[in-house]
């Protein structure tokens, strides 16, 4: 898409929101509103977006927004969907917006329940890889090696990042996809596709967080692109939990992971031997993903 073709009129995110400069989560909602709007109802669980949307009666979003407690997002989304349907509002798209905490950790039970029941709404996880709204505490989405305020210097997060996409695939939901803000066309395409499908749809969106990651505001898109091109955050989709499909392959040779990590102050304390082991992990995961994609192609 050319920049001059970009139509801001279809967005429902107003200026004057409370996001930090360079916030990946704010961009995520801009793109999703273009693809899913204008008739959508949004459920927002405790996360950065509880704040970004503004203090009522003011609001940054031109749609109904229903806030809900931290662990409840998956269930409130299902209830709202069925409530709207009971009231005859079949055409309204219900979107649940949750951070990585509200998806990977405290929200996982409700998410799993909703996915298993194949509730008819779209769950968007904007993943900034820690509890950023409360000031950078470790979540199960925090990558190995990252420093947080609950794993402060000289400590760092131990244990791998939870693979939420595999968890969602195991629920055999109609549609699950990864996306990130450096690839708006890819994200928008996936969202439009999700909108046409009924049942439970899940999007895992990597959202760089300048204050949390220790990066420059202007570097958000670059980091998002590096995450993809280093194979650290591949772009793919999973249909019905079995059909894995890449939507983007990094051009030519993959970028070394070190280039991506070196730009983030949260990884400053890890030495090259740890970065090497992280690189091995990324390569291993990529290989596993390629096997799944290949297997899906063969099945066809």
């Amino acid at each position: 898409m050319k920049i001059e073709e970009y139509n801001r009129e279809s967005e429902i995110l107003n200026s004057g929101h409370n996001a930090c400069p360079g916030c990946g989560a704010a961009l995520t909602v801009r793109y999703l509103s273009r693809a899913l709007g204008p008739n959508l109802a949004m459920v927002i669980t405790a996360s950065c977006w509880s704040i970004i949307v503004g203090v009522p009666p003011l609001t940054a979003l031109k749609c109904p927004v229903l806030h809900c407690p931290f662990p409840s997002a998956g269930s409130v989304g299902g209830g709202l969907r069925r409530g709207l349907t009971a009231k005859g509002h079949h055409d309204t798209t219900v979107v649940v917006l949750a951070g990585d905490g509200g998806t990977f950790d405290i929200g996982l039970q409700a998410l799993s329940g909703a996915a298993q029941r194949n509730e008819d709404y779209i769950f968007i996880c904007y993943d900034n890889e820690a509890y950023m709204n409360t000031g950078m505490q470790t979540s199960s989405a925090t990558p190995f090696g990252a420093r947080t305020n609950t794993a402060p210097y000289p400590l760092f997060k131990q244990g791998q990042k939870k693979d939420i996409m595999q968890i969602m695939a195991a629920h055999s939901i109609p549609y699950a996809a990864t996306a990130t803000v450096a690839f708006p066309e890819d994200m928008e395409h996936k969202l439009r596709k999700a909108k046409e499908i009924s049942g439970f749809r899940f999007m895992h969106v990597l959202s760089p967080c300048p204050p949390g990651w220790g990066t420059e505001s202007a570097d958000t898109i670059n980091l998002s692109r590096l995450a993809v091109n280093s194979n650290s955050f591949p772009l793919y989709e999973i249909i019905d939990g079995v059909n894995w499909r890449m939507t983007y392959f990094p051009e030519k040779k993959r970028t070394p992971l070190k280039e991506y990590l070196d730009r983030q102050r949260r990884f400053r304390q890890v030495d090259d031997s740890i970065i090497d082991s992280l690189q091995e992990e990324v390569d291993h995961d990529w290989q596993k993903l390629m096997e799944r994609v290949k297997h899906s192609l063969e099945e066809k």
């Binding site: 009522p56 109904p64 229903l66 409130v76 409530g83 009971a86 009231k87 309204t92």
Partner: protein, 379 residues
């Protein structure tokens, strides 16, 4: 009248079916399960009208109701004990968001150790969450109160917790007058409350607020809560005209000259009422509505009968202070002229209240002096 021999749980479920709801979201827990199963059976036979959703936890059940009520749907759920405790965060949220959700709680002791007896600590632990609480003493009351709760909640935009004892009411079969669905639906009407989430209507619902905003909202919630007894009375006047039964928020059965009254809620009240003729010079005060607390009406009963002593039977205990009903009764009567002595009989664990026990507590005064707290196990 169509009498059916049903349990308290079935009565509550039939009330929900008669009223007609858009959605039920529930999770099973003993001794509430019969409510959930009866409603699921209604759905299986195409008789529920709305949807029955089996969710993955009690927390999810109330969250689900929260989402559906936001869209203006009429919803119901039921739980007990640990289930209600697990819902705690959402009970605050539903009330603060002003969703008129109706929930039944079947009293059961909170562990450990695991215990199924009907301690009231589960529902009383939710007393500060902004839900109206009504305690029923038999299956008929359970049916009628659940029907009325939908009207009460939707009028005041506050959630209702309808409470009855596990097993003594939930599993005991009694003849219950169950009016036809058409009649009940006509009486209750379709949900009259506004949806908060409306398509294409921009609103930032329940987002970040200041302390000042919050105070204003809590004040209006308190004011609406205090309107509940009057609204309840109005509903019961109409209910009596249509169905021939009505209930009070607090009911006094005090023989003339009796200066002692036993105050109880739930099935205990009916037990006391049964033995009342055998208990010399003793009356009964049945507390039905616990939130809002009918303090003025209680003081009126005390004044009218010049009561000198109230024995409160508490099937619960708040460690560090004692029985919760007794504390509320004392607070309600503080400052009136010639207040009665309030004695607290603590039956924590939901221990059975027998005639022998009732006789003992009535006789224990004045011979044993002004003991203000006694444990059932000591008598």
């Amino acid at each position: 009248m169509t009498f059916e021999l049903i349990s308290g749980s079935q009565a509550a479920a039939m009330a929900v079916q008669r009223v007609g709801v858009d959605m039920v979201a529930a999770y099973p827990i003993t001794p509430q399960t019969a409510i959930v199963e009866t409603l699921a059976n209604f759905e299986a036979r195409g008789m529920l009208g709305g949807e029955f959703v089996s969710v993955e936890s009690e927390y999810a059940a109330l969250s689900y109701c929260n989402g559906a009520a936001a869209a203006g749907a009429r919803v119901f759920t039921a739980t007990s004990s640990h289930g209600l405790a697990y819902m705690h965060e959402m009970t605050h949220w539903c009330s603060g968001a002003r969703f008129p959700i109706v929930m039944v709680n079947v009293n059961r002791t909170l562990g450990p150790p695991w215990c199924l007896d009907p301690d009231q600590g589960d529902s009383l632990s939710q007393r500060d969450t902004g839900w109206m609480q009504i305690y029923c003493s038999n299956a008929q009351e359970a049916f009628d109160t659940v029907v009325q709760a939908f009207m009460l909640s939707e009028e005041l935009l506050l959630p209702s917790l309808i409470v009855f004892d596990g097993f003594y009411i939930s599993h005991t079969y009694e003849p219950v007058d169950v009016p036809e669905k058409e009649l009940v639906q006509q009486f209750v009407g379709s949900p009259g409350f506004q949806a908060q989430v409306k398509p294409n209507f921009t609103a930032n619902l329940h987002g970040l607020s200041t302390g000042e905003t919050q105070m204003g909202l809590v004040k209006s919630r308190q004011e609406d809560m205090l309107r509940a007894p009057a609204v309840f009375e109005k509903i019961n006047e109409r209910y009596f005209e249509t169905f021939g039964r009505s209930y009070e928020t607090i009911k006094a059965s005090i023989p003339s000259g009796a200066k002692t009254a036993i105050l109880a809620a739930g099935s205990t009240a009916e037990t006391v009422e049964w033995f009342l003729p055998e208990l010399k010079d003793t009356g009964l005060i049945q507390l039905r509505m616990f939130r809002p607390f009918p303090a003025g009406l209680l003081a009126g009963i005390v004044r009218e009968h010049e009561l000198e002593r109230i024995v409160v039977i508490d099937r619960n205990c708040s460690p560090g202070i004692g029985g919760i009903f007794a504390q509320e009764v004392k607070a309600a009567l503080y400052g009136i002229s010639r207040p009665p002595v309030v004695q607290d009989l603590i039956m924590a664990g939901g221990v059975d209240v027998t005639r022998e026990l009732l006789e003992k507590i009535v006789q224990a005064y004045p011979e044993e002096g002004l003991v203000d707290q006694k444990w059932g196990v000591e008598l």
